[in-house]
């Protein structure tokens, strides 16, 4: 089955990352790189999104399309990237997600 792992950042995590020294930051990025390498067999696709302040939302349910600045839902927790994986079942998807070394929340959704 295919699943999308959505990586979700929190304000606290972003602050922690910013407060890190150069070496610590490099180590954090290295851990993420290693995770992608370790799971290369099951990862079919992945993307890192630009920061949330670059988001633009268009609402099409009114008479005229409305363009606004920011994500569709204002929140302290934002999707920062995603990976598509192909594994046998949810337990395997959970196993892959469990070892994710960066942002603190991962939403796992099957691709229908």
């Amino acid at each position: 089955m295919k699943y999308v792992l959505m990586f979700i950042e929190t304000e606290q995590f972003a602050q922690q990352l910013e407060a890190m020294g150069e070496l610590e930051q490099a180590q954090a990025y290295e851990a993420v790189g290693r995770w992608f390498a370790d799971n290369a067999e099951v990862i079919t696709h992945h993307t890192h999104l630009a920061p949330v302040h670059t988001a633009t939302t268009m609402r099409l349910d009114g008479a005229e399309p409305v363009v606004t600045d920011g994500p569709f839902m204002e929140g302290k927790e934002v999707v920062s990237g995603f990976a598509e994986i192909e594994v046998a079942d949810l337990d395997q998807a959970l196993k892959v997600a469990r070892s994710w070394p960066a942002c603190p929340i991962v939403e796992i959704r099957p691709v229908s």
Partner: protein, 430 residues
């Protein structure tokens, strides 16, 4: 095919009734009354899970297999009380489920191949039911859905019975089950026992479901009954099943011992009028000493062999202290306090602290206990037992007026009839 023990020969929906496989809430929820109901519940508990497991293996579809079983179970709930329990109830259930299964399979192109495999399975490896429990208690399902699904799929209860046990509308239970079954299929929740490295964590979720069943059965929140005996039966049965399958997990043994210790003391918990009797006033000669010894032996074996204490083993150890005391006065409160300290450390919760305070009262006195209890106000102000405990301590400290107010508050907060009766009596005397 005419005797009362025969499965329904016909009258089963024909193959066009696709929609029949959906939820069928409460068609026979109220049928489980009296002695025949009790036998029926036991038979279903023994066989419904096994039947579901074998059909899931065969069809490879959790939801369809579960619908077939539920349909068979509800047919049984309707017919057995009227026609008598068949001689081989499991075969009866299987025949009904198989007929419905044939309807499903006929619609599939490869039905002939599957038809050939369709026969009453040899006694399944217990593993099969274990797989079923782990699927129903998967952490990706909402906690309440886990309980409902386990009761329905593993224990064979109808949505009506589950709704009655947990005092929620039947439509709510049906919706939870439907949603959970959909998620199992669509999210790819596997039908298997988790791998060894996941087992401890996944076992926690299963034990939590069994523990909740036991608690609900032990002191039901249902206003109709003080005790929902069937749920305690189910909880003990599930715990015993799990203990047989995961003998290396001391917490499973701990939970089983806990349930059995409480059951062994059950006969003394209510008086002839069905009123709750407090531990101090219970007739200890009515406790099942043999069952207590066995449960304590089970607990001791698990603790010695594994040396991995956990919340269930500790609660069982506390229950064992009470069960082994010859009289209330000879209860080893110092030991109980130590066990509560460990429990509060391993699984901190306000309710655990409240129980610990009761032990504290017997070791260090009412004033110390009251100070501890008062600290829990923010967490437990809506909990009847918090007010009832304060009432007892205040009364002991000579503050009768404040004690009365606490008892009155407790009475407003409990829905359990036996607890209510006890509080009414206490208010009348004080």
């Amino acid at each position: 095919m005419t005797g009362p023990a025969d499965p329904p020969a016909d009258g089963l929906p024909d193959g066009s009734a696709d929609g029949e496989l959906g939820e069928q809430p409460g068609r026979a929820g109220a049928a489980l009354d009296g002695d025949s109901g009790r036998v029926l519940a036991r038979v279903l508990r023994e066989h419904a899970g096994r039947l579901a497991a074998s059909l899931i293996s065969l069809l490879g579809d959790f939801s369809a297999a579960e619908d077939l079983v539920q349909d068979a179970v509800e047919t049984a709930l309707r017919r057995w009380p009227v026609e008598g329990i068949p001689e081989r109830p499991q075969a009866w259930l299987y025949t009904v489920a198989r007929r419905r299964g044939l309807d499903v399979l006929r619609r599939e192109s490869n039905y002939r191949a599957k038809l050939a495999q369709l026969h009453w399975p040899e006694p399944q490896a217990a593993d099969d039911r274990l797989r079923l429990i782990f699927t129903c208690c998967h952490p990706a399902l909402a906690p309440q859905a886990r309980i409902a699904l386990t009761l329905r799929v593993v224990c064979g209860l109808s949505t009506g019975q589950i709704a009655a046990a947990f005092v929620v509308p039947e439509t709510t239970v049906a919706r939870r089950i439907t949603r959970a079954k959909k998620k199992i299929g669509q999210a790819g929740i596997p039908y298997r026992v988790p791998a060894a490295e996941e087992l401890p964590e996944r076992l926690r979720s299963v034990l939590a479901v069994i523990y909740l069943l036991f608690n609900e059965g032990y002191l039901s929140s249902s206003p109709e009954r003080a005790q929902a005996r069937d749920l305690v039966d189910d909880a003990e049965w599930l715990a015993a099943l799990l203990a047989g399958l995961a003998p290396a997990e001391p917490e499973v043994a701990g939970l089983l011992a806990l349930i059995r210790l409480h059951r062994a003391r059950g006969p003394a918990r209510f008086d002839a009028e069905g009123r709750l009797v407090l531990l101090a006033d219970q007739d200890r000669s009515r406790w099942d000493r043999h069952a207590i010894e066995q449960a304590v032996a089970l607990l001791t074996r698990a603790a010695r062999a594994h040396r991995r204490p956990g919340p269930y083993q500790l609660q069982a150890a506390i229950a064992a202290c009470h069960a082994e005391a010859v009289s209330f006065e000879q209860t080893d409160w110092a030991q109980i306090l130590v066990l509560y300290d460990m429990l509060a450390h391993l699984a901190p919760s306000p309710v655990t602290r409240l129980h610990r305070a009761i032990a504290l009262r017997h070791v260090h006195g009412a004033a110390a206990a009251l100070a501890e209890v008062d600290e829990l106000e923010r967490d437990l102000a809506g909990y009847a037992l918090w007010h009832a405990t304060r009432a007892e301590l205040l009364r002991e400290l000579g503050q009768a007026e404040r004690a009365r107010a606490c008892d009155e508050r407790a009475l407003k907060l409990t829905t359990n009839p036996a607890q209510q009766a006890l509080l009414v009596e206490r208010l009348a005397w004080s």
